[in-house]
C-alpha cells in the first residue's frame, strides 16, 4: 500500500517529463496563422513511426478521428488530408508507435484566419 502511494506521489510530481515527442516539424507550423485552409497537413518525425490515431479538434468544439487506413508503414513523413471546417484554431493530437516499440504522442495547432 505504501509503495503504491509512493509510486503515485512520484508519478504526480514527475509528470512534467511525460511523453516522448519526436515531432520535428509540421506544415503549417505549430501555432502558425494561415489565411487559407491547407488541403493537407504535413508531419515530419525524427525517426520512423507508425501513426495509430490522429484527432483533429476545430475551435474546441468539433472533434474528428482522421482516417489512417492508408498509413500502414513505419515512416518519417506523413501527409494527412484536411477537411475545411471554417476559420478558427485547429488542434491536432496524434499518437503513434516508434519502431523500438515506444508509444509516442503529442499535439500541435494552427489557426485559419
Amino acid at each position: 500500500m505504501k509503495t503504491i502511494l509512493l509510486a503515485g506521489m512520484i508519478g504526480i510530481w514527475a509528470t512534467g517529463a511525460m511523453a516522448h515527442s519526436p515531432l520535428d516539424a509540421t506544415t503549417p507550423a505549430n501555432e502558425a496563422a494561415v489565411t487559407e485552409m491547407p488541403t493537407e497537413v504535413l508531419m515530419g518525425f525524427k525517426g520512423d513511426i507508425r501513426l495509430t490515431r490522429v484527432v483533429i479538434t476545430h475551435a474546441d468544439t468539433h472533434s474528428m478521428d482522421m482516417d489512417l487506413g492508408e498509413q500502414t508503414a513505419f515512416t518519417q513523413e506523413f501527409a494527412l488530408p484536411m477537411h475545411d471546417m471554417g476559420t478558427g484554431t485547429y488542434m491536432i493530437e496524434w499518437r503513434g508507435l516508434g519502431v523500438d516499440g515506444h508509444a509516442l504522442n503529442g499535439s500541435f495547432s494552427f489557426t485559419v484566419e
Binding site: K2, T3, A7, G8, I10, A17, T52, L97, G101, A103
Partner: protein, 282 residues
C-alpha cells in the same frame, strides 16, 4: 498528473517486476541453497508475472489509441507484436512458462525453472531505456543487476520461513550465512553495474538533480542504501548470533526481513515510475 491508463501502466509494471523477479529469484535461491518447499511461492509469483506481462502488453495497445479500446484492438496489438515489445512479451511468456513447468519436473526441473527465470529477466534488455542505447555492455550490466536483485529477493521469504520455527533455526543460520558469502560478491556487482547504468542513462550531475528521472533515481538509491543497512545488520549481527545458538536472533532476523521486503516493494515501485512515466534526460 498521469491519467488512469498511465497509472494502470505503472501499477502493472510494478506487478510485473515483483512477479518476474520474485519467481526467478526463488528458483535461483532454491538451486543455490538447496531450499525445500519453495514451489508454491515460485508458482504464485510466476503467475503474477504472467498476468501482468499480458496486461502490460495490452495497456501498451491502449496507449496507441488513447483509450481502452486499444487494449483488445487486434491491429494495435499486432503492430506491437512486430516491435521489440513483442519480442519481450514472447521471452516473458516462454521464460515464465518454463519456470512454472520446471516446478513440476523434479530435480532436473529446478534447472529448467532457473533457465526460464533467466530468459524472463533477459527480456528486460529488449524494451525500455537500456534497449535504446544498443550497447552490449549495458545489456550485460542490466542482466547482472537484475540477476543479483532477483537472488536477493528470492532468498528472503524462504529464509524468513526457516527463522520462524525453532526446528529450522540452524538451517536458517546456515542459509543466511551462505547467502552472506554470495552477497559479498553480488552486492558490489549490484552497486558497480547500478552506478554504471545510472551514469550511462543520466550522464551528468545537473541531470541527476535537475530532472524527474534523476530525482527518482536518487530516491531509488537512498532506498537501496537503507536496504544495504538492513542486510548488513542481518549479516553482521543476527545471522552470526543465530549460528552461535541465540534463539532471540531468529525473531530479529525475521523482523528485519519483513522491513527489507517493504523497502524492496518501494524500490520496485520507484523503478516502475522511472521506466514507465519518466523520460531520460537529454
Amino acid at each position: 498528473m498521469p491519467d488512469t491508463l498511465g497509472l494502470a501502466a505503472i501499477v502493472t509494471k510494478f506487478a510485473l517486476y515483483l512477479g518476474v523477479m520474485t519467481a526467478a529469484g526463488t528458483v535461483m535461491a532454491t538451486l543455490m541453497f538447496r531450499l525445500d518447499r519453495t514451489r508454491g511461492l515460485a508458482a504464485a509469483f510466476a503467475v503474477l508475472g504472467l498476468a501482468s506481462t499480458i496486461l502490460a502488453f495490452s495497456l501498451r495497445g491502449a496507449n496507441l489509441t488513447g483509450d481502452v479500446s486499444g487494449m483488445t484492438d487486434p491491429e494495435m496489438l499486432g503492430l506491437l507484436w512486430t516491435t521489440p515489445v513483442g519480442t519481450a512479451l514472447l521471452l516473458r511468456l516462454v521464460g515464465l512458462g518454463m519456470l512454472i513447468s520446471g516446478l513440476f519436473m523434479g530435480r532436473v526441473g529446478t534447472l529448467v525453472s532457473v533457465l526460464g527465470g533467466v530468459i524472463a529477466i533477459w527480456s528486460f534488455n529488449h524494451v525500455g531505456h537500456v534497449s535504446g542505447r544498443d550497447t552490449t555492455l549495458l545489456d550485460i550490466a542490466l542482466t547482472l543487476h537484475l540477476l543479483a536483485v532477483a537472488l536477493w529477493i528470492g532468498v528472503l521469504t524462504p529464509l524468513k520461513r526457516l527463522a520462524s520455527s525453532s526446528n529450522t533455526y540452524a538451517l536458517a543460520a546456515d542459509v543466511g550465512h551462505r547467502f552472506g558469502v554470495v552477497a559479498t560478491v553480488a552486492v558490489p556487482v549490484l552497486i558497480i553495474v547500478g552506478g554504471y547504468m545510472g551514469y550511462q542513462l543520466v550522464g551528468s550531475f545537473p541531470a541527476l538533480v535537475g530532472t524527474g528521472y534523476g530525482q527518482a533515481l536518487i530516491i531509488k538509491v537512498l532506498l537501496v542504501g537503507l536496504l544495504l543497512g538492513l542486510a548488513a545488520a542481518n549479516k553482521l549481527r543476527f545471522i552470526p548470533a543465530l549460528r552461535s545458538g541465540d534463539p532471540t536472533a531468529a525473531g530479529q532476523l525475521s523482523k528485519t526481513i519483513s522491513v527489507e521486503w517493504l523497502v524492496i516493494l518501494a524500490v520496485l515501485g520507484t523503478t516502475a515510475v522511472l521506466t514507465t512515466n519518466l523520460t531520460l534526460p537529454t
